[in-house]
Amino acid sequence: MGNLPTAPFVSSNKTRRRLGEFVVYVLLITSALVAVAVTIGIVFSLAFEAYHFFQLISWQDFLFGTKWSPQTAIRSDQVGAEGSFGVLPLVVGTLLISAIAMAIATPLGLASAIYLAEYATPRARSIIKPMLEILAGIPTVVYGFFAALMIAPFIRMTGSSIGLEVASESALAAGIAMGIMIVPLISSLSDDVINSVPQSLRDASYGLGATQAETIRKVILPAALPGISGSLLLATSTAIGETMIVVMAAGMAANLSVNPLDAVTTVTVQIVSLLTGDQEFDSAKTLSAFALGIMLFCVTLVLNVIAQKIVKHFREQYD
């Protein structure tokens, strides 16, 4: 065995192989680190531009100001030269539209999830689930178009027929379209959660004589509640970060209003309107978009982290 001619061949091959493998291994790690680099890139690029913004505008004025009109002066003696960068109207507008969306999506999404998980026959499920997936797959620009074209005029018409004054770009129209967009997100996440509640809980409840609805309401939903609230948090974060629907269906005017029939604007709408068109990177107007961006990033990140913690904790409980 010892003097077989293959021995040196194997060993020389081995060193080459080791080197090659090391290179591949480094490549793999680098790829995994790209994801981390993206996060760092987001945080630093946003923070960098936002820092410049806060050199021009104080953070108190930004966070607690009630007036948003991001004009910057061309001449110093211009009327209304100073822009005001109070973010409150945008935050209120964002929350208003998100709240409308969640008010629509939560009952619809939960009810369909319960039906799919507990009542639907496998055949019905195999038809309904793809339908909801299509709803989730339709680009948001389509929802925005539909909201501006059909929903907004419909609400306006209905409103004026009962004597209500409705803005042509009402928060309600954008909120409804966004709510429908979120339904599949809530229903598929909650469906998973409900399915992972152990069968033994259901059997015990039926054994005590409860009807199916009673079992769902009194046993399954309380057991699934952490997971469901996680999915609702994720849906809220999606609603807050959603851009195209509000750009197309909500207004540009920064009104501080909680009336769903008024036109309000959102953080994302303002980012888009500030950054499409001419930009100068030394003006507070352009830089304010990055301040809005970092705010949006932080809020959605916090919501996601909490949601994922809840869902993970919930999974471990029943695994």
Binding site: Y25, S31, L108, L149
Partner: protein, 419 residues
């Protein structure tokens, strides 16, 4: 015994009624969601179907030899020839305002079409030529029945006099509807009757190509590292949490990143599919990594053990045995990620792919727009004819989304193995 039995009957009936109501709540929720889908897609398809037809007007153009210099055919004033042809057809029109509205019946493209025809066939000079020209968007909308023809004249696009001209053209068969080839073969235009989706479509194709070439290799390599090599420690946990969070970052934030880093720091060309693809790649990366990890996890450990057992190194095991088995699953995940990227608009707005671009882009560094952005731009245009174009572009987008998802499903069904 009988007593207690009768006692629970009403409460039981109540409980069963509640059961039925509860069940119906679920059904109604699904019916609302699905009917919204049907109404939305149905109404858009109905609106967009009009864009498949184009209205043409036939005119008898006298190619006056005095107007066209045989030595410089291309330089003649073809717009004037078209106007003369219209005036010849309606000699009763004399007032300046009426003439102007008469000229408005055909698209300004008519002059170019005539130019091309005469340049190709100079022998036509001096003869009469009967030719079909693209109608203006207003006439097109009228023929398709989208404009008012009765009621207050001042609030209509067409006055009774104009309607008279159009009717007389119709009666002699000089107005027809043809399949709108131009919609699929031209770029954007300010004139709705000439606008097409090809430019946006090519832009989207380039963008997705860049996106795929970047996100697929990086995504599967990251997944292989995390699934096959990473030990359970704090760093790798951090990477994992990071990827999950990245998947839920609003897409517009990726656009801001692209603007601040790719455009301002690296100085890459604005509005180009290259930058668009890079931004979308970062956005789809988490989706691809998560799908690829699931695919790798589905490969049973016995495969790895067998390969390691006959002396393969860990890298060989993964690249020769595990990854090929997981490839269909990884590809499916990548296509689903691409389908999401296809409909993404907001990050592309941030990096300037929202400009008005007529030319069809020839490479990834030329300015371009993308299909969803084109939809956004057209939806903003006030002309009634753009409503139809927007809806038709949405249909094109949805058809491609469905095609991509179908490919993903077919791949999954064809190659899915149960171990």
């Amino acid at each position: 015994m009988t007593n207690s039995f009768t006692d629970i009957t009403p409460s039981l009936r109540r409980r069963h009624a509640r059961e039925t109501r509860f069940k119906w709540m679920g059904k109604i929720a699904i019916i609302i969601a699905v009917s919204f889908l049907l109404v939305m897609v149905g109404s858009i398809a109905w609106l967009g179907s009009g864009a498949l037809k184009q209205t043409r007007v036939q005119l008898n153009v006298h190619l006056d030899a005095a107007q066209i210099d045989a030595a410089a055919v291309a330089d003649a004033n073809y717009g004037k020839l078209i106007k003369t042809a219209l005036l010849d057809r309606f000699p009763e029109v004399t007032k300046r305002r009426d003439k102007k509205s008469l000229y408005g019946l055909v698209s300004y493209d008519a002059a170019y079409a005539l130019h091309d025809r005469v340049v190709a066939e100079p022998g036509l000079i001096g003869q009469d030529l009967r030719m079909w020209f693209v109608a203006s968007d207003d006439l097109d909308m009228l023929i398709k029945g989208n404009l008012e023809t009765t009621g207050d004249e001042n609030r209509r696009r067409f006055s009774d006099k104009q309607l008279g001209w159009i009717n007389s053209l119709k009666e002699e068969g000089a107005i027809k509807s043809v399949f709108n080839v131009a919609f699929f073969t031209t770029g954007d235009s300010r004139e709705p009757e000439l606008a097409g989706v090809l430019g946006a479509f090519v832009g989207t194709a380039f963008t997705l190509l860049v996106c795929f070439c970047l996100s697929f290799p990086i995504g599967i390599m990251a997944a292989i590292y995390l699934e096959e090599f990473a030990k359970k420690n704090r760093w790798n946990d951090l990477i994992e949490v990071n990827i999950n969070n990245l998947a839920a970052v609003p897409s517009i934030v990726f656009g801001l990143l692209g603007l601040a880093v790719f455009l301002n720091v690296f100085g890459l060309p604005r509005s180009s599919p290259l930058v668009g693809g890079m931004v979308l790649a970062l956005m789809t990366l988490p989706t691809i990594i998560i799908a690829a990890r699931a695919a790798l996890r589905a490969v049973p450990p016995s495969i790895r053990e067998a390969a390691l057992g006959i002396g393969a190194t860990q890298i060989q095991t993964v690249f020769h045995h595990v990854a090929p088995l997981a490839l269909p699953g990884m590809l499916t995940g990548a296509i689903v990620g691409m389908a999401r990227a296809l409909g993404e608009t907001a990050p592309l707005l941030m990096i300037g792919m929202v400009a008005f671009i007529v030319d069809i882009p020839g490479s990834v560094v030329q300015p371009a727009t993308a299909l969803p952005v084109q939809i956004f731009l057209w939806a903003d245009s006030p002309e009634r004819a753009f409503l139809e174009k927007t809806s038709a572009a949405i249909i094109v987008l949805i058809v491609f989304l469905i095609l991509m998802n179908l490919v993903a499903i077919l791949l999954r069904n064809k190659y899915s193995q149960r171990f």
